[in-house]
């Protein structure tokens, strides 16, 4: 197992957001996490990337306990997150934002190669290479955030709602891209509201409700689970 | 026996009475206050050795030379019913604030050092000044500049204080057109780059400084460092060894410091030696004046003037020879003009040496 969460609990002040989450992500998998607003999906992601301290439980990555490891050191080990709400660096140019994604990497040639790849994936970014990240439109920022996460060549890529704010055409594209990077060897943990797309691309998936995992199975299983259909897929 | 809020001077016992020193003991100009405090202290100590059965206490109020603190300190002084008189306040600024408060409650004031002329015209009935004021010192300094130094272009600096501005204005008035330019510095200023530009730009050959040594020393040092050659003249606020040390002996060399005070070594009696024995230091500026002021009050108390009112009457009509001069106060509290002398001192070999009385 590349990632293993054991019985994770997390608090925001007086509010308990996670009530004992356990899940696993195997090497080479795409695992989706779906659930209603406020279920705790983003919170789980923050716990894994180290932005939030967990109250109880443990996080194992690559067989090692990283529960108490600082966020930036987790990046060095190969965990990279594209955060909810994009989090582009508003004062840096598009290019600098992408370079930040490769902050822990030293090999210039490889970085340039990846930069080219991102620019081919999102031509709009190439077009606006020098524009400040903060002035990009909502969807453009989303592209930038995903592109930046790719720049670190992580072992485990955490994507928090990568399709949010994207136009319908681009949504298709972004999921294709996710599958493509996965096939190139990156493990992906994906949080999505667009459950339809997410489940049809994911190997496995978990359903989260008010801080607890209530269901798990392969993507296809959940896609056809009537309860899931009812709650998260809408009337198809 | 805390009876704050009451200014009643009636008191049963005639012993344990007090007089106070009021002035800077800390802060950048502390040395000026310390000299005075030690002079007064010497007088009180000598009195108490002689009158061991009925001592007089010396209260020390440290104002840091800050007029803003003066009112609080003065109020606390008047509240103490055993306290009859004050030697001080040392500086003119704080005097201006404290005197009305002290005077209103009848506390006798003899300042050995505050030289601003206006202090005598505030209507403070218990105010006395045991030395000449800046209406003598200012012209004294100006005449020295004119007749001894023969300067043609004088630059006048003041620190906007009651004392400094007052003195500088007196000097300007006498010098008239020979003043080429002037500047105002701030209290506690340390960087004088802009003023120095101005002085150099004016091509003055003499600088008159109306202010205290705290600002004068760094100014002179920076001025000399910047290659300034003009002569430096200042008043009593600069007349202390601390000035020479602060500016650096080489930079201060040749500076002229005026003072409406007698050179301490010329003071009568055994004062200079006693002071040295008591403090381990040479008597400083106004130490002797403070010694005299304290002695006048002590003499009054000894003579049975044990209330503020009685002491006030005693001092008003006092006549006598102190170690510095002959004392007799005019109606407005100023010392008899005949007793006033303004001296010019010169920094030589890193020491402040009495040079001559200033030309009239």
């Amino acid at each position: 197992m590349l990632l293993e969460l054991k019985d994770l609990t997390l608090l925001y002040g007086r509010i308990q957001a996670l009530h004992g989450i356990s899940l696993t992500v195997g090497e080479g998998e795409i695992v989706a996490l779906i659930g209603a607003n406020g279920a705790g999906k983003s919170t789980t992601m923050r716990a894994i990337s180290g932005l939030r301290a967990v109250a109880q439980g443990s996080i194992l990555f690559d067989g090692e306990d990283i529960t108490k490891l600082r966020a930036d050191l987790r990046v060095v080990r190969g965990v990279s997150q594209s955060p909810e709400g994009r989090g582009v660096f508003p004062g840096m140019s598009v290019r600098e934002n992408l370079e930040m994604g490769a902050y822990t990497r030293r090999n210039r040639a490889e970085i340039d190669e990846d930069l080219d790849r991102v620019f081919t994936l999102f031509p709009r970014l190439k077009e606006r290479e020098k524009q400040a990240g903060g002035t990009m439109s909502g969807g453009e920022q989303q592209m930038l955030a995903v592109g930046r996460a790719l720049m670190s060549r992580p072992k485990l890529l955490l994507l928090d709602e990568p399709s949010m704010g994207l136009a319908p055409m681009l949504i298709q594209q972004i999921f294709d891209i996710i599958v493509e990077i996965n096939q190139q060897g990156t493990t992906v943990l994906l949080v999505e509201q667009n459950a339809q797309q997410a489940l049809s691309r994911a190997h496995r998936a978990y359903v989260l409700e008010t801080g607890r995992i209530v269901k798990e199975g392969t993507g296809q299983e959940l896609l056809h689970d009537p309860a899931v259909k009812d709650a998260y897929l809408g009337v198809a | 026996d805390d009876s704050s809020g009451s200014g009643d001077t009636a008191t049963g016992s005639t012993c344990d009475l007090k007089i106070a020193f009021f002035g800077a003991l800390t802060g950048g100009n502390a040395q000026l206050g310390i000299n005075i405090r030690d002079g007064a202290k010497l007088a009180v100590d000598q009195y108490n050795t002689k009158n061991a059965d009925c001592k007089v206490g010396l209260v020390e109020k440290d104002s840091a030379g800050d007029p803003a603190q003066a009112s609080g300190l003065a109020t606390s002084l008047v509240a103490d019913t055993k306290l009859l008189g004050v030697v001080g306040p040392a500086f003119s600024g704080e005097s201006k604030v404290a005197n009305p408060i002290l005077s209103k409650e009848g506390v006798v004031i003899i300042t050995p050092s505050a030289t601003n002329p206006a202090l005598a015209t505030q209507g403070d009935k218990t105010f006395h000044r045991g030395l000449g004021n800046d209406a003598s010192q200012g012209p004294g300094a100006a005449n020295y500049i004119k007749t001894v130094l023969k300067s043609q272009k004088v630059f006048v600096v003041d620190d906007a204080s009651e004392y400094g501005k007052g003195l500088a204005d007196q000097v300007k008035q006498v010098l008239g057109a020979t003043v080429v330019d002037s500047a105002v510095v701030k209290e506690q200023q340390v960087d004088f780059g802009a003023v120095i530009d101005q002085v150099k730009g004016s091509a003055a050959d003499a600088i008159f400084w109306g202010g205290y040594y705290r600002e004068a020393s760094p100014f002179l040092k920076q001025y000399r460092d910047a290659g300034g050659k003009a002569k430096f003249i200042a008043g009593d606020g600069v007349k202390d060894q601390a000035f020479v040390d602060g500016a650096g002996a080489a930079n201060a060399e040749g500076a002229i410091l005026t003072c409406p005070c007698v050179p301490p070594e010329k003071a009568g009696g055994t004062f200079a030696a006693d002071y040295k024995a008591a403090t381990g230091r040479e008597a400083g500026t106004y130490s002797a004046e403070a010694f005299d002021a304290a002695n006048i009050m002590l003499e009054g108390i000894k003579a049975g003037n044990t209330t503020r009112d009685k002491l006030e009457t005693f001092v008003d009509s006092y006549q006598g020879q102190g170690v510095t001069t002959k004392f007799k106060f005019q109606e407005n509290g100023e010392i008899d003009p005949a007793s006033v002398a303004v001296w010019a001192y010169k920094v030589e070999g890193g020491k402040v040496i009495a040079e001559q009385e200033t030309p009239k």
């Binding site: 660096f89 822990t104 | 950048g28 020393s217 080489a250």
Partner: protein, 316 residues
């Protein structure tokens, strides 16, 4: 008002203004770096500077050069200055770091709001200056005249001295170095990332604590260097020397656009020059008024300073 004086001495006032401004700018860098990253007015930075001025005198005295001593030859002077720069830079950097550790880090760990940081900063500032005040009996401390100003050349009627040239260009060199560091290097990019979004920066693998330490040390070291230049220029220091200079330097930082390194340079120089003109026209006592007036006027037209913010995150 004395516009005649300004006219007559325009160039020379400019030259002295630039020298003073260079020192403001160096100190302003510290404010700008810390503000840019933490959105915190590091009030204690003025004391970081003050410590530098004292360490310089102590080092020189330790090497046998106290007030009134004659300066050694040119090489000796350069040696003394370099040693002082290293020592004061280190001491000021260390002081800044200690302030960060003691006064700010505990608050950061609790996610305290910025007003609280300001109070802690004020506390640190007061404590440092008063501690030095108590240690020095609140007496100023002089130092030897190392550089006797010598006119190097005359420019449009103004004499330019070796001292002025030295101060100006060494300050400029340090600032250019810092600018390159922040804008061109990987670590510098990390600094900017933390400034704009600390959480996401951590997700990029940036060690936030280390970046914060770095900026305090850098800012402190610059203040230390400024302290040496100040000592050479003014020849005297005292425990309260930081207060006004600090406020001026902060003003300079805001003037140029706080969080913006080049803004600090521009703001510092402009402030130095304009207030010197002001002193010439209105008299030295109105210098600070001129400085603040200029600040108000500039902010009216450019609400985020002349060059705008750059390290800082946008707030939209």
């Amino acid at each position: 008002m004395n516009f005649q004086f300004l006219g007559d001495h325009f160039v020379s006032l400019t030259v002295t203004g630039l020298t003073q401004g260079a020192i403001y700018a160096l100190v302003a860098l510290g404010y700008t770096l810390v503000y840019g990253v933490l959105r915190l007015i590091n009030f204690a930075h003025s004391e970081v500077f003050m410590i530098g001025t004292f360490v310089t005198t102590i080092i020189w005295a330790g090497l046998g050069f106290s007030v009134g001593d004659a300066a050694p030859g040119t090489l000796g002077v350069i040696g003394l200055i370099v040693i002082a720069m290293i020592a004061a830079g280190a001491a000021s950097g260390a002081t800044a770091l200690v302030v960060e550790r003691v006064a700010y880090r505990p608050l950061r760990k609790r996610n305290a709001p910025s007003l609280i940081f300001l109070i802690s900063a004020i506390g640190a500032s007061v404590a440092l200056s008063e501690a030095v005040g108590a240690l020095t009996d609140r007496q100023p401390r002089g130092m030897p005249t190392l550089v006797v100003p010598k006119v190097q050349f005359s420019f449009l009627g103004a004499d330019v001295t070796n001292l002025q040239l030295g101060i100006f260009f060494s300050a400029l060199a340090m600032m250019i170095g810092l600018d390159i560091f922040i804008n061109r290097t990987r670590l510098g990019r990390g600094v900017r990332a933390v400034a704009q979004n600390p959480d996401v920066a951590a997700l990029m693998g940036v060690n936030k604590d280390r970046i914060i330490m770095l900026i305090f040390i850098l800012g402190g070291a610059m203040a230390g260097a400024a302290a040496v230049l100040y000592d050479i220029k003014v020849g005297l220091t005292t425990y309260s020397v930081g207060f006004l200079l600090g406020i001026k330097a902060f003003t300079a930082a805001v003037l140029g656009g706080i969080g913006n390194l080049r803004g600090a340079l521009l703001g510092g120089l402009l402030l130095g020059v304009v207030e010197n003109y002001g002193a010439g026209v209105f008299g030295n006592q109105w210098m600070d008024v001129v400085a603040f007036m200029m600040l108000v006027v500039v902010l009216l037209f450019r609400p985020t300073g002349l060059l705008g913010e750059s390290l800082g995150r946008a707030r939209a």
